[in-house]
Symmetry: C2
């Protein structure tokens, strides 16, 4: 009905994906070069290039100059995770978001933290512990360290009205981050904060955010029991 958007490169991409999925082009097989495909599809070579490039970025094709383009034997699936502010996650579920500041200290972090953040062993950092709530029930427990050398304004902020995550997005910029997901058994403090039994399996996200070579913040988030993180291939 509605023709909507003549994205020729996308129809080329769809057709190529169809041929791969239908095994018309088998794993390991060389496919025609860009110029031939362009005349087959009746479009410019650049259009074919864009279609194939995106498929190669997804990991389904292996492209090499002179050698041509092949269907990969064992595709490495690329799943994309959207890591947003926790408030957004909660509100996207149609729930009411609240947060409680549990602790706020300036102190010398344990060696594991200063090591991971590459701060000097004697440096004082700002530590925050907070609870995120969805519909008044515990959603996640957060343990964060902020590098006040990089973000000195943080020492003047109470973090009672705004979560540290959102405050940092407004006041600090970053260039990249490292994320790790794991599972841990809840200790007494975490169990108490999240309202579960000690030893319950918790889904954990660790994140260190960098601005160039300097760590801006390190945060460990313990999600309430039963939390799931979903994505698609």
């Amino acid at each position: 009905m509605t023709k909507l958007q003549f994205r020729k490169w996308q129809s080329v991409q769809d057709e190529v994906l169809r041929r791969i999925h239908a095994r018309e082009w088998k794993p390991g097989q060389l496919i025609p070069n860009e110029a031939d495909l362009a005349s087959d599809f009746g479009c410019a070579r650049v259009t074919v290039n864009r279609a194939l490039r995106e498929i190669a970025e997804k990991g389904l094709l292996d492209r090499r100059r002179k050698a041509g383009t092949r269907v990969v034997l064992q595709p490495v699936a690329k799943a994309t995770l959207d890591i947003s502010v926790i408030r957004m996650d909660v509100e996207a579920r149609g729930q009411r978001y609240d947060h409680q500041l549990i602790q706020r200290d300036i102190s010398k972090p344990p060696a594991t933290v200063s090591g991971a953040m590459r701060t000097s062993a004697s440096a004082q950092l700002l530590q925050l512990k907070a609870l995120h709530l969805a519909d008044m029930l515990p959603y996640a427990f957060e343990d964060r360290w902020i590098n006040t050398n990089i973000v000195p304004e943080a020492t003047a902020e109470t973090f009672t009205d705004i979560s540290s995550n959102e405050w940092l997005l407004k006041h600090a910029s970053y260039t990249h981050g490292d994320i790790t997901f794991s599972a841990v058994n809840a200790n007494k403090d975490q169990a108490e904060a999240l309202g579960c039994i000690t030893g319950a399996a918790l889904f954990v996200m660790d994140r260190i955010t960098w601005n160039g070579d300097f760590a801006v913040t390190k945060v460990r988030i313990f999600f309430a029991q039963g939390h799931r993180m979903q994505t698609v291939l």
Copy 2:
């Protein structure tokens, strides 16, 4: 020294990212349109377009026709996970990979499985349980159901010489998949297989792979205690 690759679009992208990170272009701010940037950078508009398009896909820019391009207020970080065959993960860590088939049955799955796979409630599926080993130590325990209506050849395969994952990649194609990550306390069977105590927190990946509207396979993988999944922003 080596100039290597004149990718003008990438130098444009680097410069734009620098301006965003340096807050020269602040969150929420409108940046110059493509034509102006092109003349500023001394390149074609298409080159600017490619540079900005990729940044927008990463979630740092919001682009709208007529309205122009803005730096987003709260960037939603996109993290990409590479989901490969477990053997590859193990070997990438420099460890020896082995696997053991623990169970192989054709039976009617529980309602949760047939429901998730959208197979008829009375359909028989092939169930496999297997252990993945790294340097002879348990790495992950896998519980899999295969839809033999979609992949009938599976009924003739023993899965003793090749893991089900790699066999499926060779013999079945898929169009998309759903993935969920969570944490669970190990039950007695899982604890025994993985060599941990009952109740240990395990990192779990659930995956359903589809070919069009039909589920090819559903797998639940319990990783050994302490497993971490890493990525970057």
